[in-house]
Structure formats: C-alpha cells, structure tokens
Amino acid sequence: MPDISGAPILEAAGLRKQFGDLVAVDDVSFRIPPGRSLAIVGESGAGKTTIARMIVGLERPTSGTITACGHDRSGPPRSARDRRRRAREVQIVFQDPYTSLDPRQSAHAAIDEVLRLHHGWPAERRRDRIAELTGLVGLDARQSRALPRSLSGGQRQRVAIARALAAEPAVLILDESVAALDVSIQAQVLNLLADIRDQAGVSYLLISHDLAVVRQLTDEALVLHCGTVAERGPTARVLDNPQHPSTQRLRASVPRPGWKPRYVHPSAGR
C-alpha cells in the first residue's frame, strides 16, 4: 500500500457536480488523513452517492479536484495502466449484495480475476492470496467456490469486500454497504470491517444514513444537505452536539429506546 506519511490519503477540493440544471453537489471539500475514517451522512438526494461515484471514477466532477495517494484523479485516466493504478488506490463496496456480484462467477473466480488484473503472479500464489482474503472475510472453502445464488446477503457482501481488498486499496468506500443486511449480520460485518481496518490500515469513506453505524466505524463526519456541507467535525461531537438544523433533524429522527415520533396535525397550524 502506498505510504505517504502526513499527506492526506484522500482529498477532495471544491467538488461540484451538475446534471443539466440540477446541482447535485456544490463546493464539497474534505480530506482523510492516512489511517482515519470519514463518514458522509445526509438524507437521500443530498448528494452522498454522487460524491462516492465521483471519487471512484464512475462520474466526472463538473469542477473541483480529487486527489488520492498524492495522484490527481479528477479527469479521466490516461491509460490502462493509469486506470489500474487508480483501482489500487480507491475501491468501493456497494449497497445491494444481490447485484454487486456477477451471478456466473464464484468468489474464488471473481477475486482471481482482480488479482490477474493487477499482478502477474503464478496460479499458486494467486490461490494462496485468495485463501487469505476469503479467510479474512470469514468465508469457508465451500462458500468461496459457490455461485452467488447459493450465498446469503451477508455472505455476498463479504465476497464484495474481499474482492475490493484484493486490489489492496488505501481507501475503501462503503456506500451503504451494511444497510441491506439483517441486524445480526450487520453486526458481524461491522466487526469484520473494524478488524480489517486495524489489520490492513485501510481508510474508510462511509456513506450512510444510519447514524449508529457511522458512530461505530468512523472518526470524522461530514453532513450533507442539498449537496452542500452543512456541518463537519469529529463523529462523536457531530452526533452528540449537532449544530446545523439539518443535522439536528437527522439526529432526532433516529429510532432508539424510548423514542417517539412527533407529528403536528396540519389543522393544528404548522
């Protein structure tokens, strides 16, 4: 993994994305120091996923810059080698476990393909690395060779995580990656992500609307509202003492023991 001590592992400056007349993201900047994790929270439509897609290269920013591991990635990659180098800097795990794997490929084959893409290793070494990765994410030999349709949602997400890690990225973007999982499975995957972070030193960029997950996994948080940064700071501070009304509203909407939703009837005069 590239080691650039001191410099941020991921930095965005003045990010802006416009779709026709609609401004999805406006002047968003942040930086993630190596070994730290950042959460981007906000309501749907706030622009969180658009930012993730821009960082990973699935969308191009209208303006602004993105730098990962010291290399600029705001424009399109210049060559196949450039594309692959960017893949080894930032990877992503998507939300839906049911569409993020090729239905015709086992975990073993999917990870093997990634390894062949980035390294010219002999089959033996690739096999060992695949065993390492699947072991890391808690998949046994049968699950590693099985097709996705025989795997549960939680197991599929583990495969997606292993595949992303096969590229040995410095930054892993988790785009609502645990939102579609059962509570008990979500806890297992969150623990796994914490283990990976501690062992491999990967930095996480967590996109989530689930504030409890954000609290558990990240150091810093950035609150988006209508495409702009409403608030930012250490996760604990932002959640315990929200300043911006949008953050306060988010925080107050989270169900917890003793929580009751409040509704003011329109006839009572809103």
Binding site: A80, R83, Q91, T99, S100, D102
Partner: protein
C-alpha cells in the same frame, strides 16, 4: 409442540424430472422434430432411397406407390428423397442468416449500451433506417446486385434481421450495464472490452440464444418465400421452398401431395424451432438471479 414436518423430501423431483416437466410434451415433440430435421440436413442426400434430381416425366404426379411413400413430383422425381435432399439448403440457409446477424447485432447492441450518449444515438438511428426495409425488398436488391441464389438471399436476410437482434439485445445490455457488478469491475480498472466480453455478454447469453432460435424460424419462412419467388435457391437444386413453387400447379390439378409435403416440412420445423425458442426465452427470463 409443533407437528409441522420439514421439507417433504420424498416428493422432491430429480433434476431430470424437473427439466422434463418444464419442457412439456410440446417441447419434447419439438426436440424430436428438430433432431430428425438436423439428421436429414446432414445425411439427407445419403439417406435418400432414390435419386432426388433425376427426372422421369413418364412418372410425373403419380401418387404414393411401392417404396415411394409420398409419390412423384411434377418431373417424376421421388418426393420423399427430394425432401430429404432439400433439408440441407432449407436448414443451412437460416443457420447462415443466424450466424451472420446475431453476432453483428450483439456487437452493435453492446457497443450502443456500453457507450451510451452519441454512440448509442448514431447506432440506433442507423438501425432504425435499416428497419425500414422489409426483408423481401432487400432480397430483391441483393438478387439484382449479386444474382439470384442462396448466398444473396442469406446476405439480404442477415441485413434485415440485424437491427431486430440489436434492438432486443440493446435493452437487455442496457439493463445489465447498470448493474453494480459491472461498475465494480470498472472500478477495478478492467477495460471495457474485457468487461463486455467476459461479463456483460455471458450474462445476456441466454437471451441471445433464445433470440437466435426464434430468428431461425423467421429465416426459414422468409427464405422459403424468397426461393418460392425464384430469388433464392435455383431449381433443380432441391429445397423445400423451391418444391412448393415447382409443384404449385399440382395443387389445382388434383396432385397436392408434393407441394403440401414440402410446405408441411417447413411448417413443422418452424413450429418446433419457435417452441424451443420460447422455452429458452422463458428460461432466460426466469433464471435471472
């Protein structure tokens, strides 16, 4: 406390039984018809009991007698032998059309779906223009340019069918393109070609195969019509469409068997192929995840 039994294992069918049930009697009949047709196409001329091309006018129009199950045609040739010999061109023609139009259509569809934007617009417009020409008209054009015969007819039909294939596959390719696993591969730095060839196309392959079988049926009918019109296979080469044309006089004179027999062969094979294509299409639709 609870007396509800677990999965009733005794009733679980084997894979073979399930496949048989899914195919149904129609599917099995179709498979049989197509196997016979394929065998006839490959071994037809060898299996023919009598020479399919030797005319003998003194035997013209004689009905079924002795070893001639279907009688003689308008030139005194054994109808059954001629059917067997004609299977070759009757089936190879559509096969060639499918082999040409499906890959080209797939390539256009996937390119349009992958690049979207301007490329998609250009390809779609081009295909729409080609759509405007009916197959028979293109066959006429091809015959005028290249001379009447099977190759010209095959070329014309391939050109006519390509936009159809491309349009159907473009929709499926677009849908597949937006799946998260394709995005994951892009993020891994894989090239567009590699992703399309190794992931996108294999995942729409069942649909491609289903389309190919349906097209085969259409091509058979169109080629028979083209041959009937005299623009395709030229007599005296045996061909089912040509046989209908050659023997059409018999329909009015009380000797319908040669023409009807040839027509029946075409109809049977087309139905069988359609049933098969529909089954495959259903499988493709249902087996999505």
């Amino acid at each position: 406390m609870s007396a509800v039994p677990l999965a009733d294992k005794a009733r679980a069918p084997s894979r073979a039984q399930a496949l048989l049930r899914a195919t149904g009697p129609a599917g099995i009949a179709s498979a049989i018809v197509l196997t016979v047709a394929a065998l006839a196409a490959v071994f037809g001329p060898l299996l023919a009991p009598y020479d399919p091309n030797l005319p003998n006018l003194s035997l013209a129009w004689i009905g079924p007698v002795g070893g001639h199950l279907l009688g003689y045609d308008f030139e005194g040739r054994d109808v059954a032998s001629r059917l067997l010999a004609g299977a070759q061109t009757a089936l190879l023609g559509p096969l060639a059309v499918v082999v040409l139009s499906v890959p080209v259509g797939t390539l256009l569809a996937v390119t349009a779906a992958w690049r979207r934007g301007a490329s998609d617009a250009v390809i779609s417009s081009g295909l729409n223009i080609l759509f405007a020409f009916p197959a028979i008209l293109l066959a006429l054009l091809a015959a005028a340019v290249f001379g009447a015969g099977l190759p010209a007819a095959v070329l014309a039909l391939s050109a006519a069918y390509t936009p159809y294939v491309a349009r159907v596959l473009r929709g499926a390719a677009l849908k597949e393109r937006t799946q998260a696993y394709i995005a994951a591969l892009e993020v891994q730095g894989a090239s567009a070609t590699s992703v399309c060839l190794r992931h996108l196309i294999p995942n729409i392959a069942p649909l491609i195969v289903a389309q190919a079988t349906i097209l085969f049926g259409y091509a058979m009918v169109d080629l028979a019509a083209i041959s009937f019109l005299g623009l395709g296979v030229q007599p005296p080469t045996a061909n089912w469409g040509v046989m209908i044309s050659e023997n059409q006089a018999g329909l009015l004179q009380g000797y319908p068997l040669p023409a009807l027999a040839a027509g029946a062969c075409i109809v049977l094979v087309v139905i069988a192929v359609n049933v098969l294509g529909e089954r495959l299409f259903e499988q493709a639709r249902v087996a999505r995840r």
